[in-house]
């Protein structure tokens, strides 16, 4: 359902449901939809994953190329995250250069992974100051059923855990080794529906909610990245509560990730 086609009636309905602690799809307000993770389906990628979060489907491919490091970090590999809001995922997705929404999405996912130091960048150095591995995380959204932020972070984490460094192909060493992954950052996204804060909004909920908050934690419960989006606002108490909820709720996603 595109954003302008949701009626005020629907908005009122979802807000009043949320006020009673209910959701249109029968979930509780702090409950994730069903998660399904598959990995290794793309043979041309160094790592890949497909994550289903309810009706949202995201395909992630990891490519590793050799390049020169940045001048200020000659001994570290680099990482680039991009998202493709594939036009087949949603009627409102247009072709052409990435729009702001897509750029925000890619940058939030990027921060969650980068700031948690999920990838050991120092281990990606081949020759200090000369050659390092550049990690490309490409996220393809195939079906937008809402909460792309968490689904994309999860897909990126799963694909990175599944990735191999292509040493043989590039003549660096005799065997391909696993990409060094240190931890799993997981993000939890909340939406403000009327005066209620809900976890893991669907696309219908996204189209009527006023504000969005994404919080990424590492395994030790330390907060690693956060982003508030949309033109509404959260109260100070809501933000603090959401961060606490995220710490509890991300276990569902963590368990799904461990299962791969």
């Amino acid at each position: 359902m595109s954003s302008d086609s949701v009626s005020n009636l629907m908005k009122g309905h979802m807000e009043s449901l949320a006020a009673e602690g209910k959701r249109a799809d029968g979930r509780g307000i702090n409950e994730f939809r069903e998660v399904k993770i598959e990995t290794g389906m793309i043979n041309t990628a160094e790592g890949s994953s497909m994550v289903h979060l309810g009706k949202t489907k995201v395909l992630c491919g990891i490519k590793l190329l050799i390049g020169t490091p940045y001048g200020d970090s000659p001994g570290s590999g680099t990482m680039t995250t991009s998202t493709e809001l594939a036009p087949l995922a949603d009627q409102s997705f247009d072709p052409g250069p990435p729009r702001e929404a897509s750029i925000e999405l890619a940058r939030v996912v990027d921060r969650g992974i980068r700031e948690s130091r999920m990838i050991d960048f120092d281990a990606l150095c081949i020759e200090r100051g000369e050659r390092v591995w550049m990690v490309y995380i490409d996220l393809h959204i195939l079906d937008n059923g809402g909460n792309l932020f968490d689904c994309c972070t999860l897909a990126a984490a799963a694909a990175l855990s599944n990735a191999k460094i292509p040493n043989v192909q590039h003549g660096i060493a005799d065997e391909d080794v696993d990409l060094p992954v240190t931890c799993w950052p997981i993000s939890c996204t909340f939406g403000r529906l009327g005066d209620t804060v809900i976890l893991d909004p669907t696309s219908d909920e996204e189209s009527v909610m006023s504000a969005r908050l994404t919080v990424a934690h590492d395994e030790d419960g330390n907060i690693r990245a956060a982003q508030k989006g949309m033109n509404g606002a959260f109260t100070d108490a809501e933000v603090r509560e959401a961060v606490k909820t995220a710490r509890k709720s991300d276990n569902v996603l963590r368990e799904a990730l461990k299962g791969i």
């Binding site: 793309i42 041309t44 036009p87 087949l88 490409d138 393809h140």
Partner: protein
């Protein structure tokens, strides 16, 4: 087409991947795999993996592309950055633009565009893993997605390539044959009429080889047509 090479791509009538000259790679088609798209399809063709989604008929944007007497088909072919061995830069390049354009035109022949004046039918093809022959695979997937969307069509259009390796005309080139072979001829036909809606060719074929390549690609299309119909039958055929 790199043309003549020393590489032995076919030996005693057996190709590098073990196929006979007139054999298709394995094709698996599933209709209706995406929720948001009005119609969709996932196709595996050898190692090629493609998603196709269809939206419409809907209001045509940009407005200046509207036709007063019919709908237009806006097909778009894109390759994921991780679909090839070297990372492909995301977005439309000249190759993708050309494929999108000729595929749009091919579909305007079979979709009953005259039923929907001023509208647009969007056909999005996402290649997520590419091993030669992706334009044919994408078109085939798009046909099934159009049918899945319930868009009125005269027929579906299967697409399949033939080509030449080591002077032998073969069906459905694989990656090595595409890189080092001598000719590549992607063909799409309307099975019910036998009309050709897409034909490209690069490389070198004698007049006789061209005839043979056309025959082979046509029979490949007909085989594919059956697989496409079976996929739809599986989704919509009901209990047997």
């Amino acid at each position: 087409m790199a043309g003549q090479t020393d590489m032995e791509l076919i030996k005693d009538g057996v190709r590098l991947d073990g196929r006979k000259p007139d054999e298709l790679r394995e094709v698996k088609i599933t209709a209706g795999v995406l929720d948001n798209a009005d119609g969709s399809c996932y196709l595996e063709w050898g190692n090629n993996k493609i998603y196709a989604g269809v939206f419409g008929p809907m209001e045509c944007h940009p407005r200046h592309k509207q036709k007063a007497d019919r709908a237009i088909v806006q097909a778009r072919y894109t390759m994921a950055p991780f679909s090839v061995n070297d990372r492909k830069r995301p977005g439309l390049d000249r190759r993708s633009s050309e494929i999108s354009y000729i595929v749009s035109q091919a579909f305007e022949k079979v979709v009953m565009v005259e039923e929907f004046p001023k509208a647009s039918i969007r056909v999005d093809m996402q290649v997520v893993e590419a091993h030669a022959g992706t334009r044919c695979a994408a078109m085939t997937a798009a046909s099934v997605a159009l049918a899945d969307a319930g868009i009125p069509m005269r027929d579906m259009i299967p697409a399949c390539a033939s080509g030449k390796v080591n002077d032998v005309v073969v069906l459905d080139l694989n990656k090595e044959e595409d890189n080092y072979g001598q000719a590549d001829l992607p063909l799409a036909i309307i099975p019910s009429t036998g009309e050709v809606v897409l034909l490209q060719l690069d490389g070198h074929l004698t007049p006789e080889q061209f005839e043979e390549a056309m025959d082979l690609a046509t029979s490949g299309c007909m085989d594919l047509y059956k697989i496409m119909r079976d996929a739809l039958d599986k989704s919509y055929g009901g209990k047997k």
